[in-house]
């Protein structure tokens, strides 16, 4: 028996492969957006799709996000399965009315007669040295809108699996791609991708006994690094990767917090009314008697996203996470 060494793949390649495989399997899958055709997207995530499937299946649209998403609604009404690329987090905002008033509500307002299987891919988050309007963490807007699923991968394998699951979903999915992890690598064999996971299942990425770090997307590698560093301080941290903000896998979160008794939520998005606020509220509702300390948060500051030369002060880093873990009342 010979084993072939699997080359490391990037998250960008896994995402491309997910769309490619979905398009090959299902002729109703259409990719559309700005620069997604000939160029392959500004991040090259749709590289080669127009060439392989034709411009009618991978379409360069006019530069108008409401029009892109609105047209995708009509296409989905007719039975297609559009995969829309929003070029950057902050460039998705012109499509908000379509997203909130139509995409999110269509299944409900038609009593289930007309669900919209649309995947909206949004590169999000900072840490890439982007100038203004290229680094927003916009997830709080999406998770506050009933009717949308909000999914975000943190690993190469999940990038493939979760995007396949999102495209296969009959509900609209806002698929948030942590753009600073686009070029992260892992041993991943595109010829044998793992089974497509269901949407809404969190994963314990690292087991530990002292406290739980709850995170997702771009902050997962930071949390794993913090957990390694914490060993020196004598803390054995568990790390939960949510993978999906809606639906939220509360069972996995609560089980972990009940085991460890302490928790910190980590995300780049602003703290005020961010996903962490919801998590903290739910943990105290469901795990109050298991808690050894208040649940804390490490988030982006409540400021407009900073200019690139200052963003390192804004983003949750290992030191800030460890400082926060230190405040979990270890003296008790």
């Amino acid at each position: 028996m010979t084993t072939v060494a699997v080359k490391p793949a990037t998250m960008a390649q896994a995402l491309q492969r997910a769309m490619r495989d979905a398009m090959a399997e299902d002729p109703t899958v259409h990719v559309m957006g700005e620069d997604v055709g000939t160029l392959g997207g500004v991040f090259r995530i749709t590289d080669g799709l127009a060439k392989e499937f034709g411009e009618e299946r991978c379409t360069d649209t006019p530069l108008a996000e409401a029009g892109i998403l609105g047209a995708a609604v009509g296409m989905a009404m007719y039975g297609l399965r559009p995969v829309v690329e929003m070029q950057f987090d902050a460039f998705a905002y012109p499509a908000f009315e379509q997203l909130i008033s139509h995409v999110a509500k269509m299944r409900n307002r038609t009593r289930g007669a007309m669900p919209l299987p649309i995947t909206i891919r949004v590169p999000y988050g900072g840490g890439i040295g982007g100038v203004e309007h290229h680094s927003d963490s916009s997830e709080a807007y999406y998770v506050a809108t009933p009717g949308l699923h909000v999914v975000t991968p943190a690993t190469v394998e999940d990038a493939y699996g979760l995007l396949r699951a999102s495209i296969a979903s009959d509900d609209p999915v806002v698929f948030l791609e942590p753009k600073r992890l686009y070029w992260s690598k892992a041993q991943w064999d595109p010829a044998e991708p793992a089974a497509v996971p269901g949407i809404g299942k969190a994963l314990v990425r690292r087991t530990g006994a002292s406290a739980t770090l709850i995170t997702y997307g771009p902050s997962l590698p930071v949390c794993l690094e913090a957990a390694e560093a914490a060993r020196e301080e004598g803390w054995d941290l568990e790390v939960v990767d949510l993978r999906s903000l809606v639906p939220l896998d509360e069972d996995t979160v609560m089980a972990s917090v009940r085991r460890t008794g302490r928790a910190v939520v980590v995300h780049e998005a602003n703290g005020f009314a961010g996903p962490g606020a919801e998590l903290v509220a739910r943990i105290q509702e469901k795990c109050f008697h298991h808690l050894e300390a208040p649940v804390l948060r490490v988030t982006g500051f409540d400021i407009p996203y900073p200019p690139p030369m200052l963003e390192k002060h804004h983003l949750p880093g290992v030191d800030r996470i460890l400082d926060t873990v230190a405040r979990l009342q270890w003296e008790n």
Binding site: H30, E56, T61, P62, A64, A66, G67, L69, G70, A71, A72, V73, G74, M75, A76, M77, Y78, G79, L80, P94, E97, Q98, S101, H102, K105, M106, R107, N108, R109, T110, R111, G112, A113, M114, P115, P146, G147, H149, S169, D170, D171, G200, V246, P247, L248, E250, D251
Partner: protein, 378 residues
């Protein structure tokens, strides 16, 4: 002064732009005629198809009666709100009649009459306005999109659907309805641009009824006409008398035929007038005078057709009575059905938010269930 004559401009500095893009030089046919197209009261009316026009007349009379009944139901508290189309019936009816069965209609919230004229059960059409659910029908069954309350947002849907149908090789045209106010929205612009770039089989019918609630067209646009907006997108613009059902039907029919044949989209402006207030909640006397309304009442779509058909011997007193009787019967049935209390199940609130209920929704549904059970027991 030409470029060559500009100071410092010499042959050596001249360059030829790359052939990536060339301006269109054939814009003239896209321009609308300066006057709204009319048939009724003109020699063109000689060619009217009597049977078709009698059907139009019956639908107009029914439509007028539907408007009156819906307004009455609103006064009685049976509808939460009703945006009237009195005065605009010709546009509503023509839009419905011009489509084939497989075509799609994309109405705004004001266009329940068009939906009814296309064959939708009036009770289902009025569900949104009664308030027992948002959309009272399966859009795919009637090929009528949900009534769109956010202005102009239904237009890109029409483009996307028409585009998808064409990609699949299906013979489907989408007709999207919008008002004059809606033409100021960004979605109007984006939809028309997408439609033209994709050459989608879609027709946009703007019912210019003079007002966006209270704001007159002069404060809405500086365009010569709304139909002129088509030219900037590279599609033809057509201007038509929106109270002349024969004219609206003809212009719409031409546009639909062109779209079906692969000729791309058309923008049609139908000049009409909203005789009644924006809705029952509006007071039109605050922004317009009676004289203006009276002048438009003299150009009434039902009377225009009735006069023409009667004068040409295509319609007699019996025919008129027949149309009125049919309209009364429709109104009586509608009244009776709308007077029945709608059946509400509060637990429906949690259905169809997602294909599969989330844990959070299950918890909230249990909470409401318990509240309802407690209410029932007390």
């Amino acid at each position: 002064m030409t470029v060559q004559e500009l100071p410092g401009a010499g042959a050596s500095h001249r360059s030829t732009p790359p052939p990536a893009w060339r301006p269109r030089t054939d814009a003239a046919p896209l321009l609308p005629d300066p006057e709204p197209y009319r048939v009724l009261g003109t020699p063109a009316a000689e060619k009217l198809d009597p049977e078709l026009m009698r059907r139009c007349y019956a639908e107009l009379v029914r439509g007028r009666r539907y408007n009156a009944q819906a307004t009455a139901l609103t006064r009685q508290g049976r509808l939460a709100v009703y945006p009237s189309t009195v005065g605009q019936e010709a546009c509503e009816i023509a839009a419905a009649l011009v489509l084939e069965e497989q075509d799609w209609l994309f109405p705004s919230y004001r266009d329940t009459l068009a939906a009814v004229a296309r064959g939708l059960d009036p009770v289902q059409a009025l569900t949104l306005l009664r308030g027992d659910w948002h959309t009272g029908y399966d859009p795919r069954e009637y090929r009528i999109a949900p009534l769109s309350t956010p202005l102009a947002t239904q237009l890109p849907h029409a483009v996307g659907l028409a585009h998808a149908a064409r990609l699949r090789g299906d013979d489907v045209v989408a007709l999207a309805l919008v008002g004059d106010g809606g033409t100021s929205e960004g979605d109007f612009h984006e939809a028309l641009n997408f439609a033209a770039v994709w050459q989608a089989p879609v027709v946009f019918l703007v019912q210019n009824n003079g007002f966006a609630i209270s704001v007159p067209l002069a404060k809405q646009t500086a365009a010569p006409t709304l139909a002129h907006k088509a030219v900037g997108y590279g599609m033809p613009g057509r201007l038509v008398d929106g109270n002349d059902i024969a004219a609206v039907r003809e212009v719409l029919s031409e546009a639909v035929r062109r779209a079906r044949a692969g000729g791309g989209p058309t923008l049609i402006e139908a000049v009409t007038y909203r005789i009644e207030a924006h809705t029952n909640a509006d007071d039109a006397t605050r922004y317009r005078g009676d004289a203006e309304v009276e002048a438009w009442k003299a150009h009434d779509p039902v009377e225009l057709l009735e006069r023409e058909l009667t004068a040409r011997g295509m319609l007699d007193a019996d025919g008129i009575q027949e149309a009125k009787d049919a309209a009364e019967a429709m109104a009586a049935t509608l009244r009776e059905r709308m007077n029945a209390e709608p059946v509400l199940d509060p637990m429906d609130l949690f259905e169809n938010v997602y294909a599969e209920q989330t844990g959070r929704l299950r918890e909230q549904a249990e909470m409401l269930r318990a509240e309802l059970d407690a209410e029932e027991q007390s």
